[in-house]
């Protein structure tokens, strides 16, 4: 069991990303409004206001999608389709995706109710 975390910088992709999740067999996910550290420092902390010029072109806000994945085999397919959609997460500013092991969870959608 893994926790999949995806920070999606281009919010316009959110709908498509969730379709990819659903298609891959991810039953549920939590979507959080988030923002990058650089954006927060440059726009919210006066001392760092001079860094605004380096934020040009960067997206101010992003979405963070977290989901507990029971069947880790779905991640491979999901990753492939996310890369296709975004043009590859290796491209700077696209997003960050990672997993961490989960040793216990409660409250997940029962497997029989999964899409």
């Amino acid at each position: 069991m893994k926790l999949l975390v995806f920070v999606l910088n281009n919010e316009e992709y959110l709908e498509k990303v969730l379709e990819i999740y659903a298609e891959a067999g991810v039953a549920g996910a939590t979507i959080l409004d988030s923002e990058g550290m650089g954006r927060f420092l440059a726009y919210e902390v006066p001392l760092f206001a001079g860094f605004k010029e380096f934020m040009k072109g960067n997206r101010p806000y992003n979405k963070t999608i977290i989901s507990v994945i029971r069947d880790v085999s779905v991640i491979k397919n999901l990753k492939k389709n996310i890369n296709k959609l975004t043009g590859g997460l290796n491209k700077p500013g696209t997003g960050i995706m990672f997993t961490v092991p989960v040793d216990w969870a409660v409250g997940l959608v029962p497997e029989e109710e999964e899409i």
Binding site: F48, A49, E53
Partner: protein
């Protein structure tokens, strides 16, 4: 490891200079950087620092200020500092005039270093005990020594 003391030399420190306002202090600090061979375009550097001042306050609370700028007027990130007898206004949130001033300037391609230095400066200047020590030094050498001591 990133250190403030390695970028600050004693000839770029002003201990209780006779200065009345922010603009003249920044000019004096930039002149020190020029004399130390860090920049040969003081006018541009002054303009870049003052443009940044226009953007928002570089005054920290507790009588400290960290004016700074990215500039094409120099090739290496450099620091100059001043310890003032009576503070000058840097428009800090707490309203206190600044007595400890650190000018950080660097080229546009060293933004990572610039960000680290600013953050480190803000962190160590938040330490009341350290501020008290710095406010009571009498020489440039002691000023650097105290910073090095705090960083080690």
């Amino acid at each position: 490891m990133l250190s403030i003391n390695s970028l600050l030399s004693s000839d770029c420190i002003l201990i209780q200079p006779n200065v009345k306002n922010k603009a003249s202090l920044i000019k004096m600090l930039i002149e020190r950087l020029e004399a130390a061979g860090k920049t040969n375009n003081t006018e541009l550097l002054y303009k870049d620092v003052m443009d940044r001042e226009e953007l928002s306050s570089t005054g920290l609370n507790y009588g400290c200020a960290v004016p700074h700028a990215h500039s094409t007027a120099l090739e290496q990130t450099s620091i100059a500092a001043a310890l003032l007898n009576s503070g000058i206004d840097f428009n800090a949130q707490d309203g206190y005039p600044a007595r400890l001033i650190f000018l950080i300037v660097g080229p546009k391609d060293q933004t990572g270093l610039h960000l680290k230095l600013l953050s480190k400066m803000a962190r160590i200047l938040n330490d009341q005990e350290f501020r008290e020590i710095l406010l009571n030094v009498n020489t440039e050498k002691d000023f650097i020594y105290q910073i090095k001591n705090r960083e080690d």
